[in-house]
C-alpha cells in the first residue's frame, strides 16, 4: 500500500544503480548533484528510514521534499522501482500527514472534501491574492465553481452514442470552470450523455503528495463508491493527474484486504482523459476547418494509458487547418509539480525557464496541455500574448460551440 514504507522495502533495493534516471529527473538536471537524483534518494530512504543505519537529518527531509513527484523516473525505470510511491511513503513515515503548517493543512482538507478551493479558504486566498501575498504563479482564485452550475445528467445534443461520467477535478471546479464548460459542450456535441456526479471529492493526489494517507483514503473511498455504482461506458476527466490517480494509484492507496479494492479494479479500465477518450470513440461530427498553430506541453502524469501522451495531437489533427509545431522535448517537466512550486520557488522557476525557452522558440502563441497545474504555472510566466489552454478548448472553438 502506498504510504506504508514497510511494503516497499524489497522494491527500494531493486534499484540497479544504472543511473539512467540522471537523464530525466528535472530536479537533478537543475541541481547537477547526484544526491538529488532517484538512485540516491532511494538509497538515502533505505538507509535512514528502512534500515535506519543513518540518522534523519534536516538534509534528509529536504532531499525527500525536493521531489516534484513528476513520476518521470518511475515511468522510465528499467528495474521497475516505483520511486514516486517510495517518496510518498517516506513523506508519510517522516510527517504522518503533517508536513505543512495548520493553515495549509486546513486549506488542503477543505480542498479535498469540497473539490477545490471554495468557501472560506477561497475568500481567504482571494483576499491574499488581491494583496499580492500568494506565491508567484499561484492560480487565480474565483468564487463560483463548475459544480455549482453543473450537477446531474446532461443529454447528448445529437444521437446518443455513449454515456460517460465526468470527473471534475479541483482545478477545473474551482479555478478553471471554462475548461469544464468546453468538455460538457464537446461531449454533448459528439453524441455523449454526460453525468456530473454529485458529492465527489478531490481525486486525492494532493494528499498523497503530502504523505497524508488518511485524507487520500477518505477521498478515494468516497469516489470509488460513487463512480463504481454509475451505469456508464467510461469516466472521463480533463486532468491527467486526476486520471492517473483514479486509474493507476487508487487501488494502491487502500489496504490489501479492503472490500472496495475489487470495485476500484473494475473501475480503473474505464477511466480516460477526455482527448484520449474522444480518439477512442472517434469525433462525430467531424469539426470544420480552423486555421490555428499550436504547440503541446506533455503533462508528466501521462503514463497511465499507452496513448495518452500524444492524444491531444491526434484529436486536434481531425480539425482541418490546425498546425502542430512541436517544441523541443515536449515531455520535459514545467516545474510546477502541484504545489511544489510554492515550496521551492527558485528551483521551479529554473525548471520552468527551460520550458519557456522551448515554447517561445516555436514562435507559436497557443500552448495546449491537459494539466491544469502546468497551464496556470506556465501562463503566469508567459504573459498575455501566449495563451495556455486545454486541447478541448480548441475543439470547442472548431465546433463553434
Amino acid at each position: 500500500m502506498i504510504g506504508e514504507l514497510d511494503d516497499y522495502k524489497d522494491l527500494v533495493v531493486k534499484c540497479s544503480h544504472c543511473a539512467l534516471c540522471e537523464a530525466i529527473c528535472p530536479v537533478y538536471l537543475e541541481d547537477m548533484l547526484e544526491t538529488h537524483v532517484a538512485r540516491a534518494r532511494v538509497d538515502i530512504i533505505d538507509q535512514t528510514l528502512c534500515k535506519k543505519t543513518m540518522p534523519v537529518t534536516p538534509r534528509v527531509k529536504d532531499i525527500i521534499n525536493r521531489c516534484l513527484l513528476c513520476t518521470s523516473c518511475t515511468r522510465e525505470c528499467g528495474a521497475a522501482v516505483p520511486v514516486h510511491e517510495i517518496i510518498i511513503a517516506a513523506r508519510h513515515a517522516l510527517y504522518g500527514g503533517k508536513r505543512q503548517n495548520w493553515l495549509k493543512r486546513y486549506i488542503l482538507k477543505n480542498m479535498i472534501e469540497n473539490r477545490g478551493i471554495v468557501g472560506l479558504p477561497a475568500y481567504l486566498l482571494w483576499t491574499a491574492q488581491q494583496l499580492h501575498l500568494t506565491p508567484a504563479g499561484f492560480p487565480s482564485i474565483i468564487l463560483s465553481t463548475f459544480t455549482s452550475k453543473y450537477r446531474g445528467t446532461y443529454p447528448a445534443s445529437s444521437e446518443k452514442r455513449q454515456k460517460v461520467a465526468y470527473f471534475v477535478g479541483c482545478a477545473t471546479n474551482s479555478m478553471d470552470p471554462e475548461t469544464g464548460e468546453s468538455v460538457m459542450r464537446v461531449l454533448a456535441h459528439n453524441g455523449i450523455e454526460v453525468v456530473v456526479p454529485d458529492k465527489l471529492m478531490c481525486c486525492g493526489i494532493p494528499a498523497l503528495a503530502e504523505g497524508d494517507m488518511k485524507s487520500a483514503q477518505n477521498a478515494v473511498r468516497n469516489n470509488i463508491a460513487i463512480l463504481a455504482d454509475l451505469d456508464v461506458d467510461a469516466v472521463v476527466t480533463d486532468c491527467t493527474s486526476c486520471g492517473m490517480m483514479l486509474r493507476a494509484e487508487t487501488g494502491k492507496v487502500l489496504p490489501a484486504d479492503d472490500p472496495l479494492l475489487k470495485k476500484a479494479a473494475e473501475l480503473a479500465p474505464k477511466i480516460f482523459e477526455v482527448t484520449d477518450y474522444l480518439n477512442k470513440i472517434g469525433l462525430s461530427p467531424a469539426p470544420t476547418t480552423m486555421q490555428e498553430s499550436y504547440t503541446y506541453h506533455m503533462p508528466c502524469h501521462r503514463g497511465w494509458t499507452p496513448t495518452l501522451d500524444t492524444a491531444p495531437i491526434e484529436v486536434l489533427s481531425c480539425i482541418p487547418g490546425m498546425e502542430y509545431h512541436a517544441m523541443s522535448e515536449p515531455g520535459k517537466c514545467c516545474g510546477a509539480g502541484g504545489a511544489f512550486f510554492t515550496e521551492y520557488e527558485d528551483l521551479s522557476g529554473k525548471i520552468r525557464k527551460r520550458k519557456l525557452d522551448d515554447i517561445l522558440s516555436t514562435g507559436v502563441k497557443t500552448v495546449i496541455s491537459q494539466c491544469p497545474g502546468c497551464r496556470s504555472y506556465l501562463a503566469s510566466a508567459l504573459g498575455r500574448k501566449t495563451r495556455v489552454i486545454h486541447p478541448v478548448t480548441l475543439l470547442r472553438k472548431a465546433y463553434g460551440l
Binding site: K14, H17, C18, A19, L20, E34, D43, I44, M54
Partner: protein
C-alpha cells in the same frame, strides 16, 4: 578517515576555502550518493568529500592540494560505469566532472568536435547530428554517461561492430596531472605521429593517471537512413553462427546484437517487440547508410538467415517502434532486476568466430554450477556480455556466481579473448588482468602509472589489485 594524517573537518575546511563552499559537499547523504557507480555491490567505502568541478582551474587547484597532502581523488562522470571504477574505495575526494558540460566547437570542415569532459554523450550526439555529422560510440548508458567517462573507460557500445569504439575517435585531450599542471595531448588533426601517444595512454586509464578535462573527437558524415530488423532463431547456436556468417558474406550492420530468449522477454515487457516470443535466441540488427545499401543488406541478411534455418526475419518499419526496441535494449541491465535480485554483467570479449563456442561454454558453466546465466550483447564484435544472475542473495549463491565468473573469464582468455571489451577493469576485473597480460606487462603499466602519479593519489586500488604492504 582513510587519508593519512588529516581529519575530515580539516579537509572540508581546506576544500571550501580553495574552491568555494558550493562546490564542496560533505554531508553524509552526499557521501552515500557518491559511494558507488552502476555496480552497487562494489560500493566498499564512502568518500570524505565530493567536489563539483566547474572549470579546469578548479581541477588544477584541487589536484595540487590533493597531491601535496596525498588525498586520494576518484574522478567521476555519470557514475554509470559497470566496473566499480568510480567507487572511492580509499576514501578521499570524489571529483564530479558533470558540471563541465559545454560543447566548445563542432567543425564541419574538419569533421571534428571539442567538448568539455562532462558533456552527456546523448546531448553531444544530438548536437553533431544537427550538423549532419555522426559520432558513433553508443554505450548503453548514452543518455547519462559523459564524454570524459567514455574516454577514460574506452567505452564501446553496439555500434562497435561497424564503427569501433571511443578510442578510435579520440584525437586529443586536455588533462590535468596530479601535480596540477595542464597538458594538451595529440591535437585536432586526424593524423598525428608526434612521439609517444599520450592521448591513447590516457584513453582507458580509468582516472588512474590524470583528470581528463577536454576531449577532441573525430566525426563521420551522418548516414542518411537507419533500419532495424529482428531475426528469430530456434537455437542459440544458430543465432551465434549467423553472426559471423552475416559479416563474412559482406553485410556490415551498424549494430548486431545477440539476445537470449530471457532478454527478449524482459525487453518486450518494457516496450513491445513485434516478433514471436518463443524463439530460443534473437539477433537485433541496425543497418545504416543510403537506402540502396540498406535494401541490399536486408536482402543479403534475409537470404543467409533463411538458408541457415532462421524462423523469422522481421523488418521494423515503424520508427517509433524501432526507437522503443533500442530503448528497451539500453535498459536491459536494470530490466534483469525485475526478475533477479542481483545481476553481474561480464564484459569478456572473444574473436567473432569463437562466439558459438563461447555461447555453449557459458551455458554449460551455468548448468554445472546451477546458476542462471544469460548472454546478450554486441555479438558482432565478439563482446557478448555473459551475465550471471542471482534469484536470492545468499553466501552460497555469491560463491557460485564468483566461480562462474572466474570460469567464464578463463574460458574467454583461453579462446584468445580479452577480459574487458568496453567496460574497463576497475575493481571488477582487477584480479584477472594479470592472467591476460602477464607480469612483465603489468609491471610496465605500474611504471607508467608512477611516471604520471608518483604519489599514487589518482583513483587508487583500480585496474590491478592493491599491493599488500
Amino acid at each position: 578517515m582513510k587519508t593519512a594524517g588529516m581529519r575530515a573537518d580539516e579537509l572540508e575546511k581546506d576544500l571550501k576555502h580553495l574552491l568555494g563552499g558550493e562546490k564542496v559537499k560533505t554531508e553524509p547523504e552526499d557521501l552515500l550518493a557518491y559511494s558507488s557507480d552502476a555496480t552497487r555491490y562494489y560500493a566498499q567505502g564512502k568518500p570524505d568529500a565530493v567536489v563539483l568541478a566547474e572549470s579546469v582551474d578548479d581541477v588544477c587547484k584541487l589536484l595540487k592540494y590533493s597531491n601535496q597532502y596525498e588525498v586520494p581523488v576518484t574522478p567521476r562522470g555519470a557514475g554509470s560505469g559497470l566496473s566499480g571504477g568510480a567507487t572511492p574505495i580509499k576514501g578521499g575526494i570524489v571529483l564530479d566532472m558533470k558540471r563541465m558540460n559545454k560543447i566548445l566547437e563542432i567543425s564541419k570542415g574538419n569533421m571534428t568536435a571539442r567538448a568539455e569532459c562532462g558533456v552527456v554523450l546523448a546531448n553531444f550526439s544530438r548536437a553533431v547530428e544537427k550538423e549532419k555529422l555522426f559520432y558513433p560510440p553508443d554505450p548503453q548508458s548514452m543518455d547519462v554517461c559523459t564524454l570524459g567517462g567514455n574516454v577514460a573507460c574506452r567505452a564501446g557500445g553496439p555500434r562497435g561492430v561497424k564503427y569501433g569504439t571511443t578510442p578510435h575517435y579520440v584525437l586529443g585531450l586536455e588533462a590535468v596531472l596530479p601535480d596540477g599542471s595542464v597538458i594538451n595531448t595529440g591535437g585536432i588533426s586526424v593524423k598525428q605521429a608526434n612521439g609517444y601517444n599520450i592521448t591513447q595512454i590516457l584513453t582507458g586509464s580509468e582516472g588512474t593517471l590524470a583528470v581528463i578535462t577536454k576531449v577532441n573527437l573525430r566525426l563521420l558524415p551522418l548516414p542518411p537512413e537507419r533500419k532495424t530488423m529482428v531475426i528469430v532463431c530456434d537455437s542459440p547456436q544458430l543465432a551465434a553462427e549467423l553472426v559471423s556468417r552475416i559479416i563474412y558474406e559482406g553485410a556490415i550492420p551498424a549494430v548486431l546484437e545477440y539476445l537470449s530468449v530471457g532478454a527478449i522477454w524482459l525487453m518486450n515487457s518494457f516496450r513491445p517487440i513485434p516478433v514471436a516470443q518463443d524463439g530460443q535466441a534473437y539477433l537485433l540488427i541496425e543497418l545504416d547508410g543510403t537506402p540502396a545499401v540498406i535494401a541490399a543488406d536486408i536482402d543479403l541478411i534475409k537470404s543467409i538467415s533463411v538458408k541457415m534455418g532462421a524462423r523469422e526475419v522481421k523488418i521494423i518499419e515503424d520508427n517509433k517502434q524501432a526507437e522503443g526496441i533500442w530503448k528497451a535494449r539500453r535498459n536491459l541491465s536494470p530490466l534483469v532486476l525485475r526478475v533477479y535480485k542481483k545481476s553481474i554483467s561480464e564484459d569478456v570479449t572473444v574473436p567473432r568466430d569463437r562466439i558459438p563456442e563461447m555461447v555453449k561454454a557459458v551455458s554449460e558453466i551455468g548448468a554445472s554450477l546451477g546458476i542462471p546465466t544469460g548472454m546478450s550483447g554486441h555479438a558482432g564484435d565478439g563482446n557478448i556480455h555473459p551475465g550471471v544472475q542471482l534469484a536470492e542473495i545468499t553466501p552460497e549463491m555469491e560463491k557460485k556466481a564468483e566461480e562462474a565468473i572466474r570460469l567464464i573469464i578463463e574460458k574467454g582468455i583461453e579462446m584468445g579473448g580479452t577480459v574487458s571489451g568496453e567496460h574497463g577493469i576497475g575493481l571488477h576485473k582487477s584480479q584477472y588482468i594479470e592472467k591476460e597480460l602477464g607480469k612483465i606487462q603489468m609491471d610496465l603499466m605500474k611504471r607508467i602509472k608512477y611516471a604520471f602519479d608518483p604519489k599514487g593519489i589518482m583513483n587508487p586500488g583500480k585496474i590491478w589489485p592493491e599491493e599488500k604492504a
